[in-house]
Amino acid sequence: MEIPDSDVVKMCLNGNKEAFSILVARYKKLIYSVVYNMIEDKEEVNDISQEVFLRIYKSLDRYNPEYRFSTWSVKIATNLCLDIIRRKKIQSVPIEEAFGISSNSDTPEESVFKTERIREINEAVDSLPEKYRIPIILFHRNGLSYEEMTKVLNEPMSIIKNRLYRARLMLREKLASYRKEEVL
Protein backbone atom coordinates (compact mmCIF):
# COMPACT_ATOMS: atom_id res chain seq x y z
CA MET A 1 0.00 0.00 0.00
CA GLU A 2 1.31 3.42 -0.98
CA ILE A 3 2.43 5.70 1.86
CA PRO A 4 0.31 8.89 1.84
CA ASP A 5 2.15 12.05 0.81
CA SER A 6 1.54 13.68 4.19
CA ASP A 7 3.21 10.72 5.96
CA VAL A 8 6.23 10.95 3.68
CA VAL A 9 6.46 14.67 4.46
CA LYS A 10 6.36 13.87 8.20
CA MET A 11 9.14 11.31 7.74
CA CYS A 12 11.31 13.95 6.02
CA LEU A 13 10.63 16.51 8.75
CA ASN A 14 11.50 13.90 11.41
CA GLY A 15 14.97 13.51 9.95
CA ASN A 16 14.56 10.84 7.28
CA LYS A 17 15.81 13.01 4.39
CA GLU A 18 16.02 10.11 1.96
CA ALA A 19 12.23 9.67 2.16
CA PHE A 20 11.98 12.77 -0.05
CA SER A 21 13.04 10.63 -3.00
CA ILE A 22 9.60 8.94 -2.76
CA LEU A 23 7.93 12.27 -3.49
CA VAL A 24 10.39 13.02 -6.27
CA ALA A 25 9.60 9.70 -7.94
CA ARG A 26 5.85 10.30 -7.65
CA TYR A 27 5.75 13.84 -8.98
CA LYS A 28 8.77 14.18 -11.26
CA LYS A 29 6.68 13.72 -14.43
CA LEU A 30 4.05 16.24 -13.33
CA ILE A 31 6.56 18.91 -12.29
CA TYR A 32 8.78 18.33 -15.31
CA SER A 33 5.76 18.68 -17.62
CA VAL A 34 4.58 21.87 -15.94
CA VAL A 35 8.03 23.42 -16.24
CA TYR A 36 8.51 22.14 -19.79
CA ASN A 37 5.23 23.66 -20.95
CA MET A 38 6.15 27.03 -19.53
CA ILE A 39 9.92 27.35 -20.18
CA GLU A 40 12.23 27.13 -23.20
CA ASP A 41 15.08 24.70 -23.78
CA LYS A 42 15.80 21.27 -22.34
CA GLU A 43 18.74 22.30 -20.19
CA GLU A 44 16.80 25.10 -18.56
CA VAL A 45 13.82 22.80 -17.99
CA ASN A 46 16.01 20.18 -16.31
CA ASP A 47 17.73 22.68 -14.00
CA ILE A 48 14.53 24.54 -13.18
CA SER A 49 12.66 21.29 -12.44
CA GLN A 50 15.43 20.29 -10.01
CA GLU A 51 15.24 23.75 -8.44
CA VAL A 52 11.48 23.28 -7.98
CA PHE A 53 12.09 20.11 -5.98
CA LEU A 54 14.76 21.84 -3.91
CA ARG A 55 12.27 24.61 -3.10
CA ILE A 56 9.66 22.00 -2.22
CA TYR A 57 12.18 20.32 0.11
CA LYS A 58 13.05 23.63 1.80
CA SER A 59 9.34 24.41 2.30
CA LEU A 60 8.22 21.02 3.64
CA ASP A 61 7.60 22.47 7.10
CA ARG A 62 5.05 24.83 5.51
CA TYR A 63 3.10 22.08 3.71
CA ASN A 64 -0.54 21.90 4.85
CA PRO A 65 -1.83 18.29 4.63
CA GLU A 66 -5.36 19.62 4.05
CA TYR A 67 -4.30 20.27 0.46
CA ARG A 68 -3.11 17.77 -2.10
CA PHE A 69 0.65 17.59 -2.40
CA SER A 70 0.38 17.68 -6.21
CA THR A 71 -1.49 20.99 -6.12
CA TRP A 72 0.94 22.53 -3.65
CA SER A 73 4.00 21.42 -5.63
CA VAL A 74 2.53 22.60 -8.95
CA LYS A 75 1.93 25.99 -7.33
CA ILE A 76 5.61 26.20 -6.38
CA ALA A 77 6.60 25.16 -9.91
CA THR A 78 4.27 27.68 -11.54
CA ASN A 79 5.43 30.53 -9.31
CA LEU A 80 9.08 29.79 -10.05
CA CYS A 81 8.45 29.56 -13.80
CA LEU A 82 6.52 32.83 -13.79
CA ASP A 83 9.37 34.54 -11.89
CA ILE A 84 11.87 33.27 -14.42
CA ILE A 85 9.68 34.19 -17.40
CA ARG A 86 9.19 37.71 -16.10
CA ARG A 87 12.89 38.13 -15.33
CA LYS A 88 14.34 36.63 -18.47
CA LYS A 89 11.33 36.75 -20.86
CA ILE A 90 11.96 33.15 -21.86
CA GLN A 91 9.63 31.85 -24.53
CA SER A 92 7.94 28.47 -24.56
CA VAL A 93 9.63 25.86 -26.70
CA PRO A 94 8.11 24.53 -29.90
CA ILE A 95 7.09 21.10 -28.75
CA GLU A 96 8.23 19.16 -31.81
CA GLU A 97 11.88 19.97 -31.06
CA ALA A 98 12.03 17.87 -27.93
CA PHE A 99 9.92 14.76 -28.02
CA GLY A 100 8.11 12.80 -30.66
CA ILE A 101 4.42 13.40 -30.62
CA SER A 102 3.23 11.35 -33.54
CA SER A 103 1.52 8.12 -32.67
CA ASN A 104 2.47 4.78 -34.22
CA SER A 105 -0.78 4.74 -36.17
CA ASP A 106 0.02 7.98 -38.09
CA THR A 107 1.31 7.78 -41.61
CA PRO A 108 4.45 9.80 -42.32
CA GLU A 109 2.34 12.49 -43.99
CA GLU A 110 -0.07 12.62 -41.05
CA SER A 111 2.87 12.79 -38.71
CA VAL A 112 4.34 15.79 -40.52
CA PHE A 113 0.96 17.50 -40.60
CA LYS A 114 0.42 16.87 -36.91
CA THR A 115 3.86 18.21 -36.01
CA GLU A 116 3.26 21.34 -38.04
CA ARG A 117 -0.18 21.79 -36.53
CA ILE A 118 1.17 21.49 -33.02
CA ARG A 119 3.88 24.00 -33.87
CA GLU A 120 1.17 26.44 -34.95
CA ILE A 121 -0.87 25.78 -31.82
CA ASN A 122 2.21 26.30 -29.66
CA GLU A 123 2.98 29.57 -31.39
CA ALA A 124 -0.58 30.74 -30.90
CA VAL A 125 -0.53 29.74 -27.20
CA ASP A 126 2.77 31.60 -26.70
CA SER A 127 1.29 34.74 -28.18
CA LEU A 128 -1.61 34.79 -25.72
CA PRO A 129 -1.38 37.29 -22.84
CA GLU A 130 -0.03 35.65 -19.70
CA LYS A 131 -3.31 35.72 -17.78
CA TYR A 132 -4.92 33.63 -20.54
CA ARG A 133 -1.89 31.53 -21.47
CA ILE A 134 -1.25 30.12 -17.99
CA PRO A 135 -4.76 28.74 -17.35
CA ILE A 136 -4.99 27.09 -20.76
CA ILE A 137 -1.57 25.48 -20.30
CA LEU A 138 -2.35 24.28 -16.79
CA PHE A 139 -5.75 22.89 -17.78
CA HIS A 140 -5.20 21.40 -21.23
CA ARG A 141 -1.50 20.49 -21.10
CA ASN A 142 -0.95 19.71 -17.45
CA GLY A 143 -4.42 18.36 -16.70
CA LEU A 144 -5.09 20.40 -13.57
CA SER A 145 -8.70 20.69 -12.36
CA TYR A 146 -10.38 24.04 -11.69
CA GLU A 147 -10.07 23.48 -7.95
CA GLU A 148 -6.34 22.85 -8.28
CA MET A 149 -5.94 25.90 -10.46
CA THR A 150 -7.64 28.17 -7.91
CA LYS A 151 -5.05 27.06 -5.36
CA VAL A 152 -2.09 27.32 -7.74
CA LEU A 153 -3.03 30.71 -9.19
CA ASN A 154 -4.70 32.18 -6.05
CA GLU A 155 -7.66 33.36 -8.08
CA PRO A 156 -11.39 32.67 -7.67
CA MET A 157 -12.81 29.88 -9.80
CA SER A 158 -15.15 32.21 -11.68
CA ILE A 159 -12.21 34.31 -12.89
CA ILE A 160 -10.20 31.27 -13.94
CA LYS A 161 -13.20 29.84 -15.83
CA ASN A 162 -13.74 33.15 -17.65
CA ARG A 163 -10.10 33.41 -18.59
CA LEU A 164 -9.96 29.81 -19.77
CA TYR A 165 -13.06 30.24 -21.91
CA ARG A 166 -11.65 33.46 -23.32
CA ALA A 167 -8.27 31.78 -23.97
CA ARG A 168 -9.90 28.96 -25.95
CA LEU A 169 -11.74 31.43 -28.17
CA MET A 170 -8.66 33.61 -28.63
CA LEU A 171 -6.65 30.54 -29.61
CA ARG A 172 -9.28 29.52 -32.12
CA GLU A 173 -9.37 33.03 -33.62
CA LYS A 174 -5.58 33.19 -33.88
CA LEU A 175 -5.34 29.82 -35.59
CA ALA A 176 -8.16 30.73 -37.95
CA SER A 177 -6.24 33.87 -38.92
CA TYR A 178 -3.04 31.77 -39.48
CA ARG A 179 -5.06 29.59 -41.87
CA LYS A 180 -6.29 32.65 -43.76
CA GLU A 181 -2.70 33.90 -44.10
CA GLU A 182 -1.59 30.49 -45.40
CA VAL A 183 -4.36 30.50 -48.03
CA LEU A 184 -3.39 34.02 -49.13
Binding site: S21, V24, L54, R117, H140, G143
Partner: protein, 188 residues
Protein backbone atom coordinates in the same frame (compact mmCIF):
# COMPACT_ATOMS: atom_id res chain seq x y z
CA UNK B 1 -31.02 26.19 -28.63
CA UNK B 2 -29.30 29.35 -29.80
CA UNK B 3 -25.62 29.75 -30.66
CA UNK B 4 -24.75 31.41 -27.33
CA UNK B 5 -26.15 28.47 -25.40
CA UNK B 6 -24.31 26.12 -27.72
CA UNK B 7 -21.05 27.94 -27.01
CA UNK B 8 -21.60 27.59 -23.28
CA UNK B 9 -22.19 23.86 -23.74
CA UNK B 10 -19.01 23.61 -25.81
CA UNK B 11 -17.04 25.11 -22.93
CA UNK B 12 -18.67 22.72 -20.48
CA UNK B 13 -17.73 19.85 -22.81
CA UNK B 14 -14.05 20.87 -22.80
CA UNK B 15 -14.25 21.22 -19.02
CA UNK B 16 -15.45 17.61 -18.86
CA UNK B 17 -18.69 18.66 -17.18
CA UNK B 18 -21.24 18.01 -19.91
CA UNK B 19 -24.02 15.51 -19.26
CA UNK B 20 -25.11 13.01 -21.96
CA UNK B 21 -28.34 14.89 -22.59
CA UNK B 22 -26.52 18.19 -22.95
CA UNK B 23 -23.98 16.57 -25.29
CA UNK B 24 -26.80 15.25 -27.48
CA UNK B 25 -28.37 18.72 -27.61
CA UNK B 26 -25.02 20.26 -28.52
CA UNK B 27 -24.38 17.73 -31.30
CA UNK B 28 -27.86 18.34 -32.72
CA UNK B 29 -27.19 22.08 -32.83
CA UNK B 30 -23.72 21.76 -34.37
CA UNK B 31 -25.15 19.50 -37.08
CA UNK B 32 -27.69 22.15 -37.99
CA UNK B 33 -25.59 25.29 -37.46
CA UNK B 34 -22.60 25.44 -39.79
CA UNK B 35 -20.82 28.19 -37.83
CA UNK B 36 -21.10 26.40 -34.46
CA UNK B 37 -20.22 23.11 -36.12
CA UNK B 38 -17.01 24.59 -37.50
CA UNK B 39 -16.16 26.24 -34.18
CA UNK B 40 -16.74 23.06 -32.18
CA UNK B 41 -14.70 21.00 -34.64
CA UNK B 42 -11.81 23.47 -34.56
CA UNK B 43 -11.76 23.67 -30.76
CA UNK B 44 -11.86 19.88 -30.47
CA UNK B 45 -8.86 19.59 -32.76
CA UNK B 46 -6.83 22.35 -31.11
CA UNK B 47 -7.47 21.39 -27.49
CA UNK B 48 -7.15 17.69 -28.26
CA UNK B 49 -3.67 18.20 -29.71
CA UNK B 50 -2.71 20.35 -26.74
CA UNK B 51 -3.76 17.64 -24.31
CA UNK B 52 -2.01 14.93 -26.31
CA UNK B 53 1.32 16.72 -26.18
CA UNK B 54 0.96 17.73 -22.52
CA UNK B 55 3.09 15.37 -20.41
CA UNK B 56 6.83 14.91 -20.84
CA UNK B 57 9.05 12.28 -19.23
CA UNK B 58 12.05 13.66 -17.34
CA UNK B 59 15.54 12.21 -17.91
CA UNK B 60 16.30 8.85 -16.31
CA UNK B 61 18.76 10.23 -13.75
CA UNK B 62 16.41 13.03 -12.68
CA UNK B 63 15.71 11.65 -9.19
CA UNK B 64 19.41 11.12 -8.56
CA UNK B 65 20.17 14.71 -9.68
CA UNK B 66 17.50 16.13 -7.38
CA UNK B 67 18.74 14.23 -4.31
CA UNK B 68 22.33 15.24 -5.11
CA UNK B 69 21.26 18.89 -5.28
CA UNK B 70 19.51 18.55 -1.91
CA UNK B 71 22.58 16.96 -0.28
CA UNK B 72 24.78 19.75 -1.67
CA UNK B 73 22.42 22.38 -0.28
CA UNK B 74 22.37 20.74 3.15
CA UNK B 75 26.17 20.54 3.21
CA UNK B 76 26.33 24.25 2.33
CA UNK B 77 23.86 25.16 5.09
CA UNK B 78 25.85 23.12 7.62
CA UNK B 79 29.11 24.78 6.56
CA UNK B 80 27.59 28.28 6.87
CA UNK B 81 26.19 27.45 10.31
CA UNK B 82 29.60 26.21 11.51
CA UNK B 83 31.27 29.34 10.13
CA UNK B 84 28.77 31.57 11.92
CA UNK B 85 29.33 29.74 15.24
CA UNK B 86 33.10 30.06 14.80
CA UNK B 87 32.82 33.78 14.13
CA UNK B 88 30.57 34.32 17.16
CA UNK B 89 32.92 32.40 19.44
CA UNK B 90 35.88 34.38 18.11
CA UNK B 91 34.14 37.71 18.68
CA UNK B 92 33.17 36.61 22.19
CA UNK B 93 36.71 35.46 23.01
CA UNK B 94 38.26 38.67 21.68
CA UNK B 95 35.69 40.65 23.65
CA UNK B 96 36.62 38.84 26.89
CA UNK B 97 40.31 39.45 26.32
CA UNK B 98 39.82 43.16 25.56
CA UNK B 99 37.54 43.56 28.58
CA UNK B 100 40.15 41.93 30.83
CA UNK B 101 42.87 44.23 29.48
CA UNK B 102 40.67 47.29 29.98
CA UNK B 103 39.77 46.33 33.55
CA UNK B 104 43.37 45.69 34.47
CA UNK B 105 44.41 49.06 32.94
CA UNK B 106 41.64 50.94 34.72
CA UNK B 107 42.38 49.36 38.06
CA UNK B 108 45.99 50.51 37.77
CA UNK B 109 45.17 54.05 36.68
CA UNK B 110 44.17 56.47 39.52
CA UNK B 111 42.32 59.02 37.36
CA UNK B 112 40.30 56.41 35.53
CA UNK B 113 39.47 54.65 38.80
CA UNK B 114 38.12 57.89 40.25
CA UNK B 115 36.07 58.47 37.10
CA UNK B 116 34.61 54.94 37.32
CA UNK B 117 33.67 55.56 40.96
CA UNK B 118 31.91 58.84 40.05
CA UNK B 119 30.07 57.15 37.21
CA UNK B 120 28.90 54.44 39.59
CA UNK B 121 27.62 57.05 42.05
CA UNK B 122 25.89 58.95 39.24
CA UNK B 123 24.14 55.81 37.96
CA UNK B 124 22.98 55.13 41.52
CA UNK B 125 21.50 58.64 41.77
CA UNK B 126 19.75 58.29 38.43
CA UNK B 127 18.29 54.96 39.55
CA UNK B 128 16.95 56.58 42.74
CA UNK B 129 15.28 59.39 40.77
CA UNK B 130 13.66 56.88 38.41
CA UNK B 131 12.39 54.81 41.36
CA UNK B 132 10.95 57.90 43.07
CA UNK B 133 9.24 59.07 39.85
CA UNK B 134 7.77 55.62 39.32
CA UNK B 135 6.40 55.50 42.89
CA UNK B 136 4.97 59.05 42.58
CA UNK B 137 3.29 58.08 39.29
CA UNK B 138 1.76 54.96 40.85
CA UNK B 139 0.49 57.03 43.80
CA UNK B 140 -1.13 59.72 41.61
CA UNK B 141 -2.66 57.25 39.19
CA UNK B 142 -4.09 55.34 42.17
CA UNK B 143 -5.79 58.47 43.48
CA UNK B 144 -7.13 59.34 40.04
CA UNK B 145 -8.44 55.82 39.59
CA UNK B 146 -10.17 55.89 42.98
CA UNK B 147 -11.82 59.25 42.21
CA UNK B 148 -13.08 58.03 38.84
CA UNK B 149 -14.46 54.82 40.35
CA UNK B 150 -16.25 56.79 43.10
CA UNK B 151 -17.70 59.11 40.49
CA UNK B 152 -18.98 56.21 38.34
CA UNK B 153 -20.45 54.34 41.32
CA UNK B 154 -22.19 57.50 42.51
CA UNK B 155 -23.60 58.13 39.03
CA UNK B 156 -24.86 54.56 38.73
CA UNK B 157 -26.44 54.30 42.17
CA UNK B 158 -27.88 57.75 42.69
CA UNK B 159 -28.30 59.26 39.30
CA UNK B 160 -30.78 61.95 40.25
CA UNK B 161 -28.61 63.14 43.14
CA UNK B 162 -25.61 62.95 40.87
CA UNK B 163 -27.38 65.09 38.25
CA UNK B 164 -28.42 67.60 40.92
CA UNK B 165 -24.92 67.89 42.39
CA UNK B 166 -23.38 68.21 38.89
CA UNK B 167 -25.88 70.92 38.03
CA UNK B 168 -25.11 72.83 41.25
CA UNK B 169 -21.37 72.55 40.64
CA UNK B 170 -21.68 73.83 37.06
CA UNK B 171 -23.93 76.71 38.17
CA UNK B 172 -21.50 77.66 40.94
CA UNK B 173 -18.60 77.55 38.50
CA UNK B 174 -20.53 79.77 36.10
CA UNK B 175 -21.41 82.28 38.84
CA UNK B 176 -17.85 82.39 40.17
CA UNK B 177 -16.44 82.91 36.64
CA UNK B 178 -18.91 85.74 36.07
CA UNK B 179 -17.95 87.40 39.37
CA UNK B 180 -14.28 87.18 38.46
CA UNK B 181 -15.02 88.71 35.04
CA UNK B 182 -16.86 91.68 36.62
CA UNK B 183 -13.98 92.30 39.07
CA UNK B 184 -11.47 92.39 36.21
CA UNK B 185 -13.64 94.91 34.33
CA UNK B 186 -13.94 97.04 37.47
CA UNK B 187 -10.17 97.00 37.95
CA UNK B 188 -9.69 97.80 34.26
Amino acid sequence: MNCEEARNLMMKHFDGELSDIEFTRLCRHTEMCEKCGAEFGALKEILGLMEESGTIDPPENFEESVMKKIHQWEALVKKRREMLVTILYSVFAVGIVLMSLLISYVSQNETLRALMDNMQALSGAVRSVINFSAKWYVFMSGIAHALIQTFITFAKTSFSVFALVTGILLLSYGLISRQNGKKEEGVG
